[in-house]
Amino acid sequence: MPSNALLQVENVSKTFRVQGKKLHAVENVSFTLEAGKTLGIVGESGSGKSTLGRMVLRLIESDKGKIIFDGMDLSRIGKKDLRALRQNMQIIFQDPRASLNPRMSVGDAIEDAMAIHKIGTKASRRARVVELLSRVGLPDEVQYAYPHELSGGQLQRVGIARALSLNPKLIICDEPVSALDVSIQVQVIQLLRELQEEFNLTYIFISHNLAVVEYLSDEIAVLYLGEVVEQAPADELFEKPTHPYTQVLLNSILKIPEAPENKQEMHSIQGEIPSPLSPPSGCTFHPRCPFAMDICTTAKPEKKTVSEGHHATCHLVN
């Protein structure tokens, strides 16, 4: 473990019981995250990306595996210590409207976490609220507003201010810009990046949007049906996507062409994301994989090293 690792996740798994069946939401996921860095987690619906984020905060308990945060094994500490530790780990949700209490003013919502953790006096907390609002680009008066009076972009800034209120070390950003318009997305992403530099924040950035993930991340993990199929430094992943699923994802992104002759053809991958309740045998991606071989239908591929720090779980990798 590198000396400056803030978070180390080792072989965590989570199985839910749904309709009497087992749903492997997250299976054997491991990663290490250094302080001040961003890990991007990419995946489509049912990939387990949000479950994984919540497991790191112990909002969902993992069935097995270890999560070491700031030198402490999260699975071994009690409720009380966990609460103290949670000051250091915050989450920003996709839908800020749903994550803020509609009857609580924005100022109260931001103050709430500080009050719960008994930080400062009422007056000092209010001062901090104003300071936080200003830091995320909102005027003072917003503290008296209620969520329904604000736009989606403003609300997400409130969500960020609330997450910052306890001076956390780690923030899990769960699709924080997916519900926002493009011009607002960019503003929020730029804000997240500035805050990271200013406060040396560590992010886990969960998104289905590869472009946004690339922009913010130092390292990226690609999830498919609960498993990491490829993990690499961000540049490397985009330069040398190795797992066929990563390649498919990259090819599914429609960019504004640089010139008319660079327009993309719509070429589609076969099949749909299978139900996580009955995942395919062998490599779970094999029914959709353009390169599937016999072995892929029967044997689960192991994690292989493509180059240093770059892993792919695919039989094609030697």
Binding site: G153, D181, V186, Q190, Y215, S252, I256, Q264
Partner: protein
């Protein structure tokens, strides 16, 4: 150029709210020709969906078309009685919505829903309609169509439901397909499948398609023409090739410079400052003015007309010439 298939002229739509009115669409004109794919692009509140949906008579209860025409085959759709309009919609114009779950009937077998489209419009006899339904299911990529005919919407995935919506829209072989954010609710790999299907169907049938989307990447790759909307007005309209090469409206330029795309890592992004406002009064100037780096007094006091700015290129900006020279 041939007669347009659908031509919208000076469309104006307002919504009434408890305390005020929203000027959702302000003096919008455009046309769609045969065998053309048009993308209407904009952010939320830009009026893109309302423009298209109200022109085929689909408008929320609190909405009102205050002026304008929507000419389809010589008929003004906005003057037709509901029954006449329903005749055209679903037969000559097919419609696909963003969320197939809310537009499909949850307690009706999907095969019957496709057949119903043909039977209501007396497009085919029962027997023909059944055979065509099976054919359509095959065409849109639903495996085992005979047994899937009997399935209900909840038994399908989101992508499959969107395919079924497309089958219903195409049942009577419309000349025009209108799709409102047809892939927004879907995962990226599934989005690509639906777009590939739409493109294939369009090419095979020589049908025209209008897609309303917030996704500039989708519009520029899928469509032949692009309309960019903001604040209920068209800011720029161009052939896609022209738009890719020479988008000139400050809003278009701002968006192109700020959208984060793959390969942008390390690039400085410069977000467009501010946010769009809801118009509660008739526009007196350019709706984008307050966020625009080229804004002058005139932009606040005079609504820019959509004017020709080159071949296949129209722009609503008082300072387009200046912006263009600056961009070069």
């Amino acid at each position: 150029m041939s007669e347009p298939l659908l031509s919208i002229e000076n469309l104006q739509v307002k919504f009434s709210r408890s305390e005020d009115e929203v000027y959702a669409v302000n003096n919008v004109s455009f046309a769609i020709h045969e065998n053309e794919a048009l993308g209407i692009v904009g952010e939320s509140g830009s009026g893109k969906s309302v423009t298209l949906m109200s022109s085929i008579g689909l408008i929320r209860e609190n909405g009102k078309i205050t002026s304008g025409k929507a000419l389809f085959q010589g008929k003004d759709l906005l003057k037709l009685r509901p029954k006449q309009l329903e005749d055209i919609r679903g037969r000559d114009i097919g419609v696909v919505f963003q969320d197939p779950m809310t537009s499909l009937n949850p307690i009706m077998r999907i095969g019957d829903q496709i057949m119903e489209a043909m039977l209501t419009h007396q497009y085919a006899s029962r027997k023909e309609a059944f055979n065509r339904t099976i054919q359509l299911l095959q065409e849109i990529g639903i495996p085992d169509p005979h047994s899937r005919f009997k399935s209900y919407p909840h038994e399908f995935s989101g992508g499959m439901r969107q395919r079924i919506m497309i089958a219903i829209a195409l049942a009577c072989e419309p000349q025009l397909l209108i799709a409102d954010e047809p892939t927004t609710a879907l995962d990226v790999t599934v989005q690509m499948q639906i777009l590939a299907l739409l493109q294939d169907l369009r090419r095979k049938r020589g049908m025209s398609v209008v897609i309303v989307t917030h996704d500039f990447g989708l519009a520029t790759n899928f469509c032949d023409k692009i309309i960019v909307m903001y604040g209920g007005q068209i800011m720029e309209a161009a052939s896609t090739d022209m738009f890719i090469r020479e988008a000139t409206h400050p809003y278009s330029i701002g968006l192109k410079a700020s959208i984060i795309e793959v390969g942008n890592k390390g690039k400085e992004i410069s977000p467009i400052p501010g946010a769009a406002r809801t118009l509660t009064e008739a526009p007196t100037g350019c709706p984008f003015a307050e966020r625009c780096p080229f804004k002058t007094e005139r932009c606040l006091n005079e609504v820019p007309e959509l004017r020709a700015f080159g071949i296949d290129h129209y722009i609503a900006c008082h300072h387009a010439e200046e912006v263009a020279s600056y961009a070069v």
